[in-house]
Symmetry: C2
Subunit: 275 residues, 2 copies
């Protein structure tokens, strides 16, 4: 499988929508010479409120689309799909590696606060499957983990209302029941790709000593190590190409995605595909 | 078509999710003896941020499912599908009648404030297609209409945070740009089935003289008139049966849907169907 030409294939990145562009951004920073191909399943988002069988089916169709384009590694940037469908996607992609965001996020949280109290902010489906809790406890049996579904924070990030009083009030309201339980987290894990946009508001709400853990950077480092191990790093000169695909709404993808990737996007930059 | 046995067929109600249960509730009040069959396309919600072609395709598949069960009238409870896909669904269902929520909502707004300034709160897709604006101006060429996409209000209703400071702050923020334009609406149209749940918060934010217009009641009256015209009213004794279907997540449908229909639902009350 690791014939030299495979080095030149892009890394595939899959997400339910635009949120995974925060992971793509970290991959570009860690691996600037790699070509990247991103697929956002915007026609069927959000995954976070759907059942396991639907999430697995949708994620598998998206993976097949990326496989058809030719990729050397798949990054599942969507927390919900990582939590619920990773095994199925690993089987589908073998022998090629598949990296989700949950395991790297758990690694980062345990490294930041060994034996600590961790709070995972995520979607309903990610919380329901307890993937972060299991991944953290596998790494650190002294850890304590609570998970909190925060669907409104997804909409806030999509609407672009990430700063100011409304974002802070919503975060406070989600955290209130924990304060009543006297659960004071040592780390807060941003367990949804939308949530890095709310990091400044979150930092204003929580105690200074709380570590805020974002999977994106750790996931990019795990991807880089995996490519190096498999001798699949692209050694081309100059920056890698970026190809963006979505299953619906190119203009909405460009408008909202620009906030996540940190640069202006035009609808003509997005290829629409049918799964 | 109007053979006597057709009277005993149920009314089909279609929505992208649970929001249309506010319309179903109004139908039950207006037509208590009718059987009702409801389909929420929860696997593919929200429709409000999707493209026209996706909305038409999804709505048509849902309609085919209800046609297969046998219905005598279709109510499109989803504002987005009513705004974007009504013509296609009317063609698919002919000669049977199809009633959307946009036209009845426009009728109610014009009746409440003739020659008035109307503000439509809706999803992105409903606003993009300008269906309410066109429907109001067809009825009243002295009217003035503005439309505002309020996606966060959908999430607020689903989360159940319909009362209190956060709901009011979000509504105020959406309305702020209109105040700066000195647009003071005589009526506010709840152009998304989720928004009746936010009516109390909205009433606290807007001026007392503003009429708040909800399509649900008017749509139910239009449906009743249509059945009477076609001699299709069910004359059975006792209350009609209610059948609920969804395309994903029966337990989430029951939990959130209960708030919309105004009674407790169990996951076992919901039949899952694949479109």
């Amino acid at each position: 499988m690791n014939a030299p030409h495979n080095r030149r294939l892009p890394i595939g990145v899959f997400d339910s929508g635009v949120g995974g562009l925060t992971v793509l951004r970290a991959l570009r920073e860690a691996l600037p010479q790699e070509d990247l191909i991103y697929l956002g399943d915007t026609a069927r988002l959000p995954y976070g409120t759907k059942s396991k069988s639907s999430i697995v089916r949708y994620a598998s169709q998206a993976t097949a689309q990326l496989q058809g384009r030719g990729i050397k590694l798949l990054v599942v940037a969507c927390n919900t799909a990582s939590a619920v469908a990773l095994d199925a996607l690993q089987e589908q992609m073998q022998p090629l590696p598949v990296i989700g965001v949950v395991e790297p996020g758990a690694t980062a949280a345990v490294a930041a606060r060994p034996g600590g109290r961790h709070l995972v902010l995520a979607t309903e489906a990610t919380v329901r499957y307890g993937a972060y809790r299991k991944a953290i406890l596998r790494r650190d049996d002294h850890a304590e983990v609570r998970e909190l579904a925060c669907e409104l924070m997804v909409s806030l990030a999509e609407e672009g209302w990430t700063d100011g009083g409304i974002a802070e009030a919503i975060i406070r309201r989600y955290l209130e029941p924990l304060a009543e339980l006297d659960f004071r987290p040592d780390s807060i894990i941003l367990g949804c790709t939308h949530f890095p946009l709310l990091r400044p508001a979150l930092e204003r709400v929580v105690a200074d000593a709380t570590a805020i853990v974002d999977s994106a950077g750790t996931t990019a480092r795990v991807a880089a190590a995996s490519l190096a191990d498999d001798e699949l790093l692209n050694e081309q000169q100059g920056p890698g190409r970026l190809q963006l695909m979505a299953t619906d709404g190119a203009s909405r993808f460009a408008r909202i995605g620009g906030r996540f990737i940190g640069e202006d996007l035009a609808a003509s930059d997005i290829e629409l595909v049918d799964l």
